[in-house]
């Protein structure tokens, strides 16, 4: 089970002596044979589509009369002008959801890493298992939970005389401009909450992997050297879990920024995210150059942010 959790960390931190010692240095064709089929797959079905998108974005024309490659980058300006609010909103929602996931995920990852034996495995399974119930079904379950009339949360709280907690939370959201009318469901807050919930396992698993590798004796040593538990966390635990924090935040932020399911199911017309725009431009409006330009913009923005972030965090093993 421990290995399941090794899966998502993109930055599987290869610190310490775990790197394999390679003795034979002769160049051989074996690695290329091993790489060829997989890399070919990625070149044909990932790189080529990206190039197609780039080329599409520089074409002009319409569906009925066909497109011609003109190399005119104006569409990028149009895309930015028309949809910058959705782009900014997407990055903001994804950013907040990532921070929330980190805050929620870290204690659980730490808790699981500190367990032994069977209880550890069961907890890990429970983190991953929701994946197998389609995330659409689970997101719809949040609709039933959060709805103001007939929602399970409101009903349960009301049943024990705590209905005001639900209402006050709605008012608070309204005060914070996170809900237009005090509704909890169909508000920006609900969208961020949905993103947080959906990508939480992607945060927890890499965090768990880093924390599980953490040598407990280092924590004892810190305590022995006069560090209070808080200082031990700040100076030892947190820095040593950074690789997990970096991969966890990336694995949460990237898909969250491009997601539109949560916005569609839990949001309103003012929570439209960029993924929704791309989807409808592509599949409904059929403005391929604009959709392609938006796709490319989103990708470029994310890649740029990832590189700055990774450099700041000082984890070179990522790429």
């Amino acid at each position: 089970m421990a290995d399941l959790a090794v899966a998502p960390p993109v930055a599987a931190p290869a610190r310490g002596p775990s790197r394999p010692v390679r003795r034979r240095r002769r160049i051989s064709w074996v690695p290329y044979l091993l790489l060829a089929p997989g890399l070919l797959w990625l070149v044909v079905f990932f790189v080529a589509p990206m190039l197609t998108t780039l080329s599409t974005s520089l074409q002009e024309g319409d569906v009925d009369n066909g497109y011609v490659l003109t190399g005119n980058p104006d569409v990028y300006w149009q895309a930015l002008q028309a949809y910058w609010p959705q782009i900014v909103r997407s990055l903001m929602y994804a950013g907040i959801a990532t921070l929330l996931s980190l805050a929620l995920g870290y204690p659980l990852a730490y808790f699981i890493a500190s367990r032994r034996g069977r209880s550890k495995n069961i907890l890990l399974v429970l983190v991953i298992a929701p994946f197998f119930t389609s995330f659409l079904i689970r997101t719809m379950a949040w609709q039933s939970l959060l709805a103001s009339d007939g929602g399970l949360v409101r009903k349960t709280l009301g049943g024990v005389g705590l209905g005001w907690v639900y209402d006050d939370f709605g008012h608070l959201l309204q005060l914070l401009h996170l809900s237009p009318n005090g509704e909890i469901l169909y508000s920006p807050w609900a969208v961020v909450w949905g993103l947080t919930y959906n990508f939480l396992p992607f945060m927890i698993l890499p965090l768990y992997t880093s924390l599980d590798r953490l040598d407990g004796r280092l924590l004892e040593a810190a305590g022995d050297l006069y560090a209070t538990p808080r200082q031990t966390f700040r100076h030892v635990t947190w820095p040593l879990s950074l690789p997990g924090v970096v991969s966890g935040t990336l694995l949460t932020f990237i898909p969250a920024a491009g997601d539109y399911i949560n916005s569609r199911l839990l949001g309103n017309t003012n929570t439209v995210m960029i993924g929704q725009v791309i989807d409808s431009q592509f599949l409904r409006v059929l403005d391929y150059p604009l959709a392609a330009a938006l796709s490319f913009l989103l990708l470029a923005l994310i890649v740029a942010m990832v590189f700055i972030y990774v450099r700041r965090a000082g984890t070179e093993e990522l790429v």
Partner: protein, 370 residues
């Protein structure tokens, strides 16, 4: 540097530790004099590391109190105790430089001169040149010295060493033993050294407590433990012993007592025999036995094995009743015996120790007379 502060005694009063499934340390009392080099010696699982961890505050005792001088520190947390540990695994922080590692404790205490003191301590362990490196870039011996520096820089009341030399090779270990001894006398801190290596304990410590099954079997200076072990366990764990089953057959005459082992009459020093004991083990160290009849007690036997080690020759000599005695003959020019040769073994009264026969004979696993 020595004596800048009066170092205080560490006192353990009726301390014990029970885990869910077993008792690691039986209730025991122990006083470690301030400024001494003290060793806790015993086989793995004897409770020595648990005792150490209780002193460090990493384990809460089930019963008993821990005092340093007049202060009762039983209820304090590890980070509140002026006690530091050199961990067996060193436990150096991999993300910090050597200097940051050494300064860590002082910084937590808010010492503004942390960096300067850390540099000075690195000087003391002769590592000033690697201050900016990460621990992973250092050799095992260097890491060990960093771990030591990181602990002593705090000038703790008590420094705990948990098998700190276990991971080093023999030559480096000898070197570090001398180094540790030098540093201890230089800084004058109480050192408590946990080890399963009897030679290491004897080389370094002023006082040794031999532990077995969660109890202290014997406490004393190395020579006393070796010459007058109080139990078969100590006799066998510290060096090697030949234990002969014997009876005391008479009263003391001129300071010696007659005894009989397998129908051989021997004499033992009267002051070595506990009062009123009749059935005893007579223990003789291999190097106290001599080939030839120069000693007063004599037994004949046949050499079954001889191995030459340079400074000495080690023999196994079969007794008429089947038991094999181990004999170490110094390479002092005297003639060596060959395998199959019949020899006379002798020793003088007073070179033996006498133990109660009711004790488990193979405690500490030695050579035991059947």
């Amino acid at each position: 540097m020595a004596g800048t502060r009066a170092t205080e005694d560490l006192r353990l009063v009726q301390i014990s530790k029970e885990f869910e499934t077993f008792t690691a340390v039986q209730p025991m009392d122990l006083t470690v004099p301030g400024g001494s080099f003290f060793a806790l010696l015993g086989p793995s699982g004897c409770g020595k590391t648990t005792t150490l961890r209780m002193v460090a505050g990493l384990e809460a005792p089930t019963t008993g109190r821990i005092h340093i001088g007049a202060k009762d520190i039983t209820a304090t947390k590890a980070y509140q105790r002026n006690v530091n540990t050199v961990f067996q695994s060193y436990a150096l922080f991999p993300h910090m430089t050597v200097l940051e590692n050494v300064a860590f404790g002082l910084k937590r205490k808010g010492d503004s001169a942390a960096m300067t003191k850390a540099r000075q301590t690195l000087d003391l362990v002769q590592l000033e040149q690697v201050a900016t490196k990460k621990p992973a870039q250092l050799s095992g011996g260097m890491q060990q010295r960093v771990a030591l520096a990181r602990a002593i820089v705090n000038r703790p009341d008590v420094l705990l060493l948990d098998e700190p030399l276990g991971a080093l090779d023999l030559k480096l270990r000898r070197q570090m033993q001398i180094e540790l001894k030098r540093i201890q006398s230089e800084v004058g801190i109480t050192f408590i050294h946990v080890t399963h290596d009897q030679e290491e304990a004897m080389t370094m410590a002023d006082t040794i407590a031999v532990m077995n099954k969660g109890r202290i079997e014997q406490l004393g200076d190395p020579a006393t433990l070796y010459e007058k072990p109080a139990s078969t366990f100590v006799a066998n764990f510290l060096g090697q012993s030949n234990l002969l089953r014997a009876q005391i057959t008479g009263a003391a005459v001129d300071g010696v007592m007659p005894a009989s082992t397998h129908d051989h009459d021997v004499w033992v020093a009267a002051d070595r025999v506990p009062d009123g004991l009749r059935d005893v083990w007579i223990g003789v160290r291999p190097e106290k036995l001599r080939l030839g009849d120069a000693g007063r007690n004599q037994i004949k036997g046949q050499v079954t094995d001889a191995s030459f080690t340079g400074v000495a020759t080690q023999y196994l000599v079969a007794m008429p009743w089947g038991f094999e005695l181990m004999v170490v003959q110094q390479n002092d020019g005297s003639p060596r015996a060959g395998v199959g040769e019949n020899v006379t073994l002798s020793w003088d009264p007073g070179h033996e120790f006498v133990l109660d026969q009711s004790q488990a004979e193979d405690a500490g696993s030695g050579l035991v007379d059947g």
